[in-house]
Structure formats: C-alpha cells, structure tokens
Symmetry: C2
Subunit: 367 residues, 2 copies
C-alpha cells in the first residue's frame, strides 16, 4: 500500500493508523487522542506562553509544528493531528475570532439575521494559508514517523458558533434560527459545507494524510433536525473531498459527539471511519456500522484521572467491547483507539503513557 | 379507576395524565412541561422576588403552592408538578445547599473523600417536612383539577452534585471517584437510593399522585458505567416505592437525559413511564419500550422560540412520531406530551399556549 501523500515527503514508517482507517489488518490497535497537543502537557503551556495567545500559536507555522509534535516525543502514539482550531474557517469568513483568556472563543460579528447570512461566502483560501503552511511544515518535521491528520468542524458545528457568537449551554440562538428561519439556516450550512470541503482539500494538498470532521454539536439536535441540518451537510462535505492524493488514499473520519443514536443513519456516509464517544457500546456499534467502516474511540477521558491499574482495566473493556479486529488479507472490521472526546487539561501526562502502553500491549494479545 | 390518593382530597376532575401513565386510553394526549412553574412566567418572578431567594420560595408552603399553581391559571395543562429542587435531599444530609444569584446551586461541604462518604446517611425526613407540607398544601389547593406529580433526583444525579459541589461541565471530580474508588461511589449511591425512595414515599403519603425520578446526568456516563452506577440505583429506588396508596395506583416516571442509547436496558425497569429527550426517535422508542411502558416527551424546548405555526408543525411531528395511541378497553401504548428537558426561562408564555392547544387539538384528531 502506498500511504505517502506526496513524494516531497519521507516515506511513512508507521502506517498502522492509516491501515486501520482503511479496514486493513494491523499488528496492534493504533491509538491517538483528540486534543493530544494541548494544555495537559507542560511543554505545550510553555510554548503557548511564548506565543502569547492561542491564535498566536495557531497562526505561527513554527509554533504549530512544535506543539503538534510534542505528544509524539512523550508517547508512542500512532498519528499526529494538526494543531489548529475549528473556528479558523468562520474567522476567514470575516466574523472576527478572538480567544479571551479562560473564556473560550468569541466572534465579534455573529450571524443572527438575514443580512448577516447574505454576507456569508466561502472564504478565500489565501486567508487560511497559515494553516496549510503549518500542515506542510508538520508533515516535513514528522519525517514519516506517523501520519498527519487534518481536520475541520462540521457545517452545523460551525453554524452553532457563528450564530451564538461563543460557546453556549442551550443553543437557543442557533436553534431559534433553525426553527423559525430554516431557509436561512440551510443557506448558511451550504456555504459552510462548501468552505469546509475546500479547506480540507487544501489541507490534503498541503500534506494531510487523513482528515477528520468534528461534529462536536451534532448531538444537541433533535431527531429529525440532526439528519436535516447536520448529517446532510456532512454528506455534502464528504462528496467533495479528495479520496486520493499524490497516489495515496486519504481516509476520512466523521465524529459526532452525542450521535450514538444515529449510527444507523451514519452507516452509509461516504467516509472511512466513524468516531464514537464513550456513551456508545462498541459491540453494538460494530454490528450497526462495522461492515462498512472502521470505528474510532471511545474511552471516557475521565478514566485518565484514575490510577494506572484502573486505566488498564478500562482500556481492556474498550478493546473487548470492539472485539477481535480483522486479521489476514483483504479488509474487515478495524478499531482505532481514542478517547470519546478531547483529553482534559488536568490529565497527568504519565497516565497517558499508561493508556498508550495498555492499548498497544493488550491489542497485540488479542490477535 | 380510582385515582384519588386519599379521601382527604377532592376527587380528580381530569385524570387524563394518570390514565396515560397507566397505559389506559384517553380522549387526547395529556401535556405538561418540565419546569412549568418557573422563570419564564412573570408571575413566578414576582413571587420569587417577594420570597427573596430560591430556597425561600421552596421552603415556604404558601409560596411553593402559589408557584406550582401559576402555570395552571394560564394553560389547560394536564398535570401539576411540585415546586421544589432535586438538591433538597443532599441538603438534608447536611451538605449545606445555597443558591447564589445567577450562579446555580452550590454545596458548602462537598463529598470528596472516604471520610465524607462515611459521614453520609439517609437523612431524617423531618428535615424535609417543608416539602411534604408543600405537597399536601398544593394537593388541597388543586382541588382535584389535575393530578400532582412529586419528584426527586436519581441517586447518580445527586452524587454528581454532592461530589462536584456545584454544576460541572466535565464531571471530572465525580468520575474520578467513580473510576478510582468505585467502592466509595457504590456506598454513596446506596445511601442516595434509600434516601430518595423514602423521600418519594413521604411525598406519596403527603398527596403526590405520581412520582418522577430525574436522572439529569445519567447521560454523561460511559456505556457500562451507566448501567452500574446510575440504572442499578434507579432500580433500587423503584423497588422500594409505594405502587399504591390510599386506594389509588401511583405511577412512576424515570427520565434519563441523554439516555436514549440505553432504552433497551431501561425497558424492564419497574416503572410506568419513561421520559425521553428530543434526541430520541419516538417511533423507534415505542418499538423498543412501547410494550411495557408509556412514553413521555420529547419536543426540543427551543422550538418554543419559533412562531406559533412552526410550533404547531413540530408538535405534529412529535405526535406522529409516537403514532396513534391505544384506544378502547384494556391497556396499550400511550404518550404523554412534554418537552425533552426543562422549559427555557426565555420562553414567551404565549408560545406555551400555542403548544398546549396544538397538542390537545391534533391528538384528538389522531384518535
């Protein structure tokens, strides 16, 4: 299998993650963690202090490269993920992103009426050049150690932030628009979907070897609304993505937090992997989805606050819930170990080492 | 059917809600709303201002009676629910509950170690006398108009607040205890379950005609952990509840927010009704559960920010998702209309009127 996305870069030494994405047999279950380049690492906090701000970090090629590689220096994880933020896309649309310290993201110009929606357009990708530069720089710095994952927010998740203007605990403003002006919501979601697809394709062209769509807020929607306002636009993104680039297949991952109830609706998505949070039973998920896609997940990040022996026991539970993965030639059910959501900033790094070791050790035993 | 819980009180004029709980035919689908006695009503805000604080309101028989009846004066809803808070029980355990303005509940003495768990015990119900007095006063004031629902938090949901000491967005402290000291967590949950059962039985003896267990935070647990740390203790509560009192059956309702993935595990609970949030498809839920229990739910409260015509359309979707309820003699599938979570404080009251009218009108048409 050729898993190098472009001859500019060193050949891949560890293709376990990419093979598992494509439902090919691997010697062990690959593992990486959402938000693995982040605040739980003291070296990340040091780099961020030097950068001055979150966006200072994300917009600097050197800093973004540095923090993306930090977890790889500590842990034998099987993939790197671009250090960035899902809100770069609406920022490039002109909404004015800022991160106030300890407050989370905020947009200066949220999208709350017909005039604001009318002003939206797929942004010029030149405004996101810093992201693609970071992708190329990281890919080069990785030197083929592990594959690099690019990512974007889902059209619906971006719309949540664009309308609310910040995080929310009730999604009142975005749902008010959804229920009272579904026409405006559809208009915004189409633009978001086309922007996300273009953005991910540019990441692939810059060197991303897999891409992941984070539908972080799909799970707040009602049944029916999820299918109409989130899933349909994730499909629209997927339909436009490069499936191959530079002679390599580019797997895609869709992760809907809180989306476990809709796995049957997601089973026919045109992607390679479904990410699952910790509420999902992997045995059942494999039955519903397993025939067509790899599964990624799904340890509760809070398990990492327990002692190593307990972390190991919970890792084994997750591995056993998925069951024995495919071995031998051809394709079959495969599992990529991950947390069910981003790692907590309070996590002791040595507990992550215990997690990675347990996944690698026990998943070899299972085969 | 005798639906009067005690001869002290006036006979019931509208038993639609209780009949639907017991899976008996009704002329229309009954409707009430979680948090219907609350901040979205100007008259509630006026009473609360007079009471000075949330606990001033909840601990006064007169005020609690007044606000419980307020939504009934505006809307022809089919049930009243005791005005109180799920945290009265841990408060009676000595944890020191307070509500800082605009901040939500807080405990002065959260339960975070072995010594704190060892000090826990089922509280003396005399400390909760104000709740039972309110139940009796409300039941008297209702004069048989509609039935009165009593309620409590689930053992797990109470444990979340008891350990975190306040609301949380990651449940880190309570899950750290769960994963690192499951023995302590089980000890706390047993005490909580026995306290909740006793508390609900006292409410029934005081005049509650149905009881509801709010497992508001069951949905944050991992698959496996939910069954072990939440559902098992909800079962323990249910096993101790009065099923009949004063010659009347006392239906019980279990509502696990975010619990839609575990409906198959909940199908054999010893309760009469399962409450569902808006992520659940009622058609599927009826197939999984419908043979044994009534279903309650599940409109997204944010629908109430749309115009009346859109509210009506969404009400019809929910009614149609459940489908035609049981008619005729004997028992069969029944539906109690509700929101999928508490009503937002920002809801325009006239939109609630549109909701109630739409449920009553269209559910009669369906029969």
């Amino acid at each position: 299998m050729n898993t190098s996305a472009s001859s500019r870069y060193a050949p891949l030494k560890n293709d376990t993650f990419l093979r598992a994405c494509l439902r090919l047999a691997t010697d062990y279950t690959p593992v990486w963690m959402m938000r693995q380049a982040g605040r739980f690492l003291p070296e990340y906090r040091a780099t961020r202090a030097r950068a001055g701000s979150f966006m200072g970090l994300a917009t600097s090629t050197d800093y973004a490269t540095e923090v993306t590689l930090q977890p790889l220096e500590r842990f034998p994880i099987d993939a790197a993920i671009l250090f960035s933020d899902i809100l770069t896309v609406p920022d490039a649309m002109g909404l004015g992103l800022s991160f106030a310290l300890g407050e989370g993201p905020r947009f200066a110009s949220p999208v709350r009426d017909e005039a604001a929606v009318a002003r939206l357009a797929v942004p010029d990708m030149d405004k996101l050049r810093y992201v693609f530069d970071a992708v190329s720089s990281i890919r080069l710095a990785l030197d083929g150690r592990v594959p690099l994952i690019g990512f974007a927010g889902s059209p619906w998740t971006l719309a949540c932030y664009m309308v609310e203007g910040a995080g929310s605990d009730d999604y009142r403003l975005v749902k008010t628009m959804l229920y009272s002006r579904p026409d405006l919501m559809h208009q915004m979601l189409q633009i978001n979907a086309d922007a996300v697809a273009l953005y991910l394709n540019c990441q692939i062209e810059a060197g991303a070897q897999a891409v992941m769509i984070f539908d972080s807020w799909g799970g707040v929607l009602a049944d029916g609304a999820f299918q109409e306002f989130s899933l349909a636009y994730t499909r629209r993104v997927l339909s436009q993505l490069h499936k191959n680039f530079g002679g390599a297949r580019i797997p895609s991952i869709v992760f809907t937090k809180g989306g476990g109830l809709w796995l049957d609706d997601m089973a026919d998505l045109d992607c390679n992997v479904l990410g699952l949070d910790w509420t999902v039973n992997l045995t059942k998920a494999r039955i519903i989805v397993g025939g067509s896609k790899a599964l990624q997940g799904n340890l509760d990040p809070n398990v990492l606050f327990a002692q190593a022996s307990q972390i190991e026991a919970e890792v084994i539970k997750v591995l056993n819930a998925f069951g024995t993965p495919h071995t031998g030639p051809g394709s079959g059910p495969t599992h990529i170990f991950n947390l069910g959501h981003g790692i907590s900033q309070h996590t002791p790094p040595e507990h992550v080492a215990a997690l990675v070791q347990a996944v690698h050790y026990h998943s070899r035993q299972m085969r």
